[in-house]
Amino acid sequence: MNPYKKECRFTFASFLVVVLLTNIYPLYFMFPQITKMNILGFPAHYFLAMFMGWVVLVPFFWFYIKVSENIDREIEDSAQGEEK
């Protein structure tokens, strides 16, 4: 895949992942039973909102940096010689 497609697709995918991690509310409506469950002593939906929205977001963004840096490098190295 060329770096342009990689950049666009990875950015779009990252956008969706961040939206889903920081806005897990569809889960409450799709699986209302989740609000009756517990995780580590907290109501599951409360715990998951914080856990996904912060604890999971940090390593995800670290992963984003790694991949986007590789794509940036490919972009910089991709001089096509001849401009279209």
Binding site: Y4, N23, G41, Y46, G53, W54, L57, I65, D72, E76
Partner: protein, 580 residues
């Protein structure tokens, strides 16, 4: 943000929500002890001296406009991440969030996480390209991408948004001094306002950045230690050492005292239903509103490289998330304390106006004076850092972006002088406005978030990711977004006498869903109808800010992205007009 909190509280504080029994009950009145006031004053004086000294030494490092407006673009990842943290967090985080948790309970988790999502999204969608572009502000970018008219429109929007926030922060500082030190409001406002104006004006972006880094550290210490002690005193044991997740032992007590606290389908103690549309509106207003705030994006211009900017965001996400989740902890503890101790044992009702002081109330109730005074320092640091960031964006927006439009060949020293002049004028104007803050201030702060999502965000995202976005589309999109934002808020969702958007409770969120979508839709459709951007210089510019060493006509030119966005925007507009 603080104003946003107050505004929502004001909206909710309706006669229907305040029962007759509550009105009849004795009202709790917070009065800080003398020792807390004394320690608070000592901390405040030490901080003020430190901030002014940092501003003074930073002046020596400023030799060019690049230094003044972007701190020489040499800020490392950790320092910048800390500076981003205090720039993003304001008095709201310290005082207002706890008040909102007290009033709204669970839904605040969604508010907070959406804000954190918006903060992250800036780094994914905008920051790398803005940093590669390499100038000073979002408005400057809009000017280079869409022309001078768009730049002027965006600067006008920025000044309005920044002023609305600034007045609230300044007012908050004045109120803090008033409550804690028994100063009159005007003295607190003038002292706080002049200090921050002085150190930003003197030190420029260097002074601002170093001070924001310092303020972030103060903020975290001031929040963390009292929270740990409060949790320990409430019996959380070892869990107290990790405040974001350390209070599960108290959850059964909370459910027993207030069964609706964790209910995601209602708010205000089970009184108001929350729908799927409401949560979607939180997503759009808070995520897209945050992306559009120019003073947040401005920090990325100080990074030494794109990679350092991304790493700074990683630190920022960690610190901001830590403070946000700790806010949920202290908010939880405060709600439990008021329900169990104040109401249950002492028979006292907390006046909603006092809810902003819950962090201080909790600190005074559970910690020794020298710890209990720390939140005063934290609140000051949070307020001053945000004021400073906003003043800097005003100074740069007018003193650089507009000035260089009028005088393209202006010398470097004259740009610095203009930046300095307008930063100082912005500070003085804000103090003057905050001396007698207008009543409409609360609702206009909410409007500020909606306007950011409806003006800056579509123009910035489409300007970076779609070559076809053109001047007329951008100008129409910004004007339509700003117009609808103002109209719908001012008329509570009505347009020409017809109920246009069904607002529901906390209606500004649903109105933001409509106005932001309208701006996207108009900008895309008009750009497409007018043939898109044809200027090759501008099209090459888009390739360059993505890091491409060469130019390719086809890149960022496809129709799938803009048409897809327009369809989604249209769908959201129609949905927002349907009954809540």
């Amino acid at each position: 943000m603080r104003l946003l909190m107050f505004a929502v509280l004001a909206l909710l504080n309706t006669p229907t929500l305040v029962g007759a029994a509550e009105k009849a009950a004795k009202v709790y009145k917070f009065e800080p002890t003398k020792s807390i006031s004394m320690f608070g004053l000592i901390y405040a004086v030490i901080m003020i001296v430190a901030f002014l000294y940092v501003g003074y030494i930073s002046k020596k490092k400023t030799t060019s406009s690049d230094d003044y407006f972007t701190a020489g673009r040499g800020f490392g990842a950790l320092s910048n991440g800390l500076a981003m943290t205090s720039n993003f967090l304001s008095l709201a985080t310290f005082l207002g969030f706890t008040a909102l948790i007290w009033k709204l309970q669970f839904v605040l988790v969604s508010f907070i996480m959406a804000w954190l999502g918006g903060f992250t999204m800036i780094a994914i969608l905008l920051a790398p390209s803005l940093r590669r572009w390499g100038k000073f502000t979002s408005m400057g970018f809009i000017g280079e991408r869409f022309g001078h008219v768009a730049k002027i429109v965006s600067v006008v929007c920025m000044v309005l948004l920044a002023q609305l926030y600034l007045i609230g922060q300044m007012k908050g500082i004045g109120n803090l001094f008033q409550v804690m030190f028994h100063w009159d409001y005007m003295t607190g406002l003038i002292v706080g306002g002049l200090i921050v104006t002085a150190y930003v004006t003197i030190g420029g972006m260097y002074g601002l950045s170093y001070n924001q880094t310092l303020q972030s550290i103060i903020l975290m210490i001031a929040f963390l230690f009292p929270t740990i002690i409060v949790l320990m005193k409430l019996g959380c044991g070892a869990g107290s050492l990790l405040p974001p997740f350390g209070y599960s032992k108290l959850v059964p007590t909370m459910i027993e005292q207030l069964p609706t606290y964790f209910d995601p389908f209602t708010t205000v103690m089970g009184k108001i239903p929350l729908t799927f549309k409401f949560y979607t509106a939180i997503l759009f207003t808070h995520i897209f509103g945050t992306i559009g705030l120019p003073h947040i994006a401005m920090r990325y211009f100080t990074a030494s490289s794109v990679r350092e900017a991304k790493k700074a965001t990683l630190w920022g996400i960690f610190f901001v998330g830590f403070i946000f989740t700790t806010t949920l902890t202290i908010g939880f503890a405060a709600k439990l304390y008021t329900v169990q101790e104040l109401q249950g044992v002492q028979g006292l009702m907390l006046n909603p106006k006092e809810a902003d002081l819950l962090v201080l109330i909790m600190s005074q109730a559970f910690t020794p004076s020298w710890i209990a005074a720390l939140p005063i320092a934290g609140a000051m640091a949070a307020g001053l850092s945000t004021i400073a960031g906003l003043l800097m964006v005003i100074g740069t927006g007018i003193g650089h972006d507009i000035y260089t439009t009028i005088k393209p060949n202006a010398s470097d020293p004259s740009k610095v002088k203009m930046g300095l002049l307008f930063t100082a004028l912005g500070g003085i104007a804000t103090i003057m406005l905050a001396l007698n803050p207008p009543d409409f201030l609360l609702t206009s702060a909410i409007w500020a978030y909606v306007v950011a999502a409806s003006t800056f965000t579509p123009v910035l995202i489409l300007g970076i990711w779609w070559k076809g976005a053109n001047k007329i589309g951008a100008n129409c999109g910004m004007i339509v977004g700003a117009f609808f934002s103002m109209m719908l808020w001012g008329t509570n969702g009505k347009l020409f006498g017809i109920q246009f958007v069904n607002m529901g409770p906390l209606g500004y969120l649903v109105s933001g869903l409509f106005t932001a979508s309208a701006a996207w839709f108009v900008m895309i459709v008009i750009s497409l109808l007018t043939g898109g951007e044809k200027d090759e210089k501008v099209r090459r510019f888009v390739d360059r800010i993505h890091g491409w060493p060469d130019y390719c006509e086809e890149r960022y030119s496809g129709k799938t992205f803009p048409v897809g966005c327009a369809v989604v925007a249209l769908g959201l507009m129609i949905w927002s007009m349907m009954p809540y």
